[in-house]
Amino acid sequence: MTWRQRLSRWDVKSAPYLYIAPFFLLFALVGLFPLLYTGWVALNKWSLVKGNQGFIGLANFQYVLAQPRFWDGVTNTFSIFLLSSVPQIFMAIGIAAVLNANLRAKTFWRMGVLVPYVVAPVAVSLVFGKLFADESGVVNAILTNIGLDPIGWHSDRFWSHVAIATMVNFRWTGYNTLIFLAAMQAIPNDVIEAAIVDGANRWQTFFSVTVPMLRPTIIFVVITSTIGGLQIFDEPRLFDNFSLGGPDREWMTVTMYLYELGWNVQKNLGRSAAVAWLLFLIIVIFALINYAITRRIASSDSRPNRKALVK
């Protein structure tokens, strides 16, 4: 082989790696390095103000795992996550199906669902803060008017989660709707028509053809909203003006606990980093479980075989 040939061979072999290299370099810089460095911080007594004060092994993890507050945070996070992500995905699929139908002014409606996503979280929380105020709020005013008891949105653990989940759903449903809509539009019309010719009604077509064919998208959305849901921070933090999660930490999530330890009250970055790592592990485990479940659900036999279709 000549030098030239070798070079061109090397080029062919290495080019793909070079093309993807910028991402991985960036990832190493802003993803991997912080991850590992956070791990290092977690093994040290590390104050926000005074810096590293020496290696202490796993003491930070021991401390965090022994705190009832941490477990409160885990419970609250999962509760808010379930109250937001689950209804959100069902709503998003439903709205996407409607938008996928033959509507007038399609673009208008499709843009419309994205508007809440564009609104800044701070603005959303201001509006919802007024809606869910305990005494002066609109929601409680309506409840009292129709003869129900007002709800302690800021004093009852469960209801505070519902209020926050409402904020999250308001923001993210439209975003997920558009993802599902894009996926639905990628479903070939022939398949739908074939089902109709076979005598399937709208519901049957939707559940037996459309939904199974959304499988990869559903997996994607479930995993991204798992990650986002478990890292939830803005909405609960802005749910009141103190950003701590209530006097009994009724709506304090894991990330808020992380922030409280590191920046707010204790200024202990070591403990804060330990929480960050624990959260990372929880998310990895939970994403894997979710992946397994979603795969199983969506791969029922009724699923049309793509390869067969292509042929």
């Binding site: 926000l48 810096g51 009832p68 201001l126 005494e135 009141d240 003006n241 006097p247 009724e250 920046w263």
Partner: protein, 438 residues
């Protein structure tokens, strides 16, 4: 804590007015000898000084004035939207050793942390500024080793704001001098008048929030959460009798005597309560007047009494520091001294209402002649100056101060606001939370 609440509120609610809990300037053309000496030499090299503030310090016009008198100095102002943002920036870059402005404004809340890192700050002591501030303000800006690291700007001397119209309905005096007399001098007097009030008030509460009262009382303890003799030591909460006594008496007044409106300051319900007239009195530092006026827009009857239960009280205030990492610490020090001199502080007070912490400013006719239309034309300049002079205690705030204060605020709010726990249960939980701080 209270002021971190403040900050939180500012962030989210954009309650622009409360931002004032900080700031102040002042300079004396005459008193700022060091500034004038350094500037009288026109041959000096050109320097650019950055000044980082947050919210409203009222310095904008002063920068121009200083640059005019000191042609070699260019001032670049930096203004963070919230003190939270400024605080993160401050500590991150202080630890990093570079990136801070030549002059950095700090809020009283950060002082415990600032004092832990006093070695990273330029020593601002000097004969020209000696005794410039109220004693407790100056003491708070002095590091444990005796070096002055923070120049006081503004303060938040507290009086009692009240609704004269609601007082009248309940058969209490309405004139501010008589009200001050009726309020007495101790917290018990204040609560007793409250009991008289709620007996006839038809559901209107005496004060807005139990924790706001705690804030007032805790700031009157010289060593609320740590002892300082022989050295700083955290007092175990379970053994902290003075704080426990305050906690018990406030919650008794709030719950058993029904004096509290059960609100949490800065929350939407609290803001709303001003319009609905749900409470009749409030402890109000100078910067709170603007907040009340904003929240109670259109409501008539607010006034302010020249008294404060249990002696004087201060809530909030800010300082200027010069990080040692700066390239022009000497020039920065001169500018900071000029900005915090009484003359300049008065100008800032006029511009943004930041109440001066300088002794000389408190006797200035410019300040004393200020009245507030919303508060029934009360002579607020005179009243707040009196309130500032009444402050005798310099509460010591160690590194854990705000952590402990938060534990207590949470404990009070679990009883007063969310009503989920009894005072005793909530205190038991507070002790557990305190022990977990370690």
């Amino acid at each position: 804590m209270r002021s971190s609440l403040l900050r939180g509120a500012a962030v989210t609610a954009g309650l622009a007015l409360l931002l004032v809990g900080c700031s102040g300037p002042a300079a004396t053309p005459s008193a700022s000898t060091s500034a004038s000496t350094s500037t009288s030499a026109p041959s000096e090299e050109k320097v650019t000084l950055t000044v980082a503030t947050f919210n409203e310090f009222g310095y904008e016009d002063l920068y121009a004035e200083y640059m005019k008198d000191h042609p070699n100095v260019t001032i670049t102002p930096k203004k963070a939207a919230t003190s939270n943002e400024a605080r993160e920036n401050y500590f991150n870059k202080l630890a990093a050793g570079s990136g801070l402005s030549d002059i950095e404004a700090i809020e009283v809340d950060w002082l415990p942390d600032v004092m832990q890192t006093a070695d990273k700050l330029y020593d601002l002591s000097g004969d020209d500024v000696k005794g410039r501030w109220l004693d407790w303000k100056e003491a708070a800006g002095t590091a444990p080793d005796g070096k002055l690291v923070a120049y006081g700007t503004d303060i938040g001397p507290e009086g009692v704001c009240y609704r004269a119209d609601l007082f009248k309905k309940a058969g209490l005096p309405t004139d501010r001098a008589e009200v001050a007399k009726a309020l007495g001098s101790t917290w018990d007097d204040y609560f007793n008048l409250g009991k008289q009030f709620v007996a006839k008030s038809n559901g209107v509460a005496w004060f807005d929030s139990a924790d706001a009262i705690m804030q007032g009382q805790v700031n009157q303890l010289a060593n609320a959460f740590s002892s300082t003799e022989p050295e700083e030591t955290l007092i175990p909460l379970a053994d902290n009798a003075p704080v426990k006594a305050q906690y018990d008496s406030i919650l008794k007044a709030a719950m058993d005597d029904k004096l509290s409106a059960h609100l949490q300051q800065w929350q939407p319900d609290w803001v709303d309560a001003f319009q609905k007239g749900k409470f009749a009195t409030m402890l109000c530092p100078g910067w709170m007047l603007g907040v009340i006026e904003g929240n109670a827009k259109g409501v008539e009857g607010w006034d302010i009494a020249n008294t404060f239960p249990g002696g004087g009280g201060n809530w909030g205030g800010s300082y200027l520091t010069v990080p040692a990492q700066g390239a022009h610490t000497k020039e920065a020090r001169d500018l900071a001294a000029w900005l915090t001199a009484p003359e300049q502080q008065i100008k800032a007070f006029k511009a943004k209402g930041t109440f001066p912490s300088q002794k000389a400013a408190l006797t200035s006719p410019d300040l004393l002649s200020v009245t507030n239309k919303f508060f029934n034309n009360a002579p607020t300049g005179q009243i707040l100056a009196d309130r500032a002079n009444a402050v005798k205690v310099n509460p010591f705030k160690g590194p854990q101060y705000f952590a402990v204060r938060q534990v207590i605020a949470d404990a009070i709010n679990r009883v007063d606001v969310t009503k989920k726990q009894s005072a005793a249960d909530s205190w038991a939980q507070a002790i557990k939370e305190f022990n977990a701080l370690g």
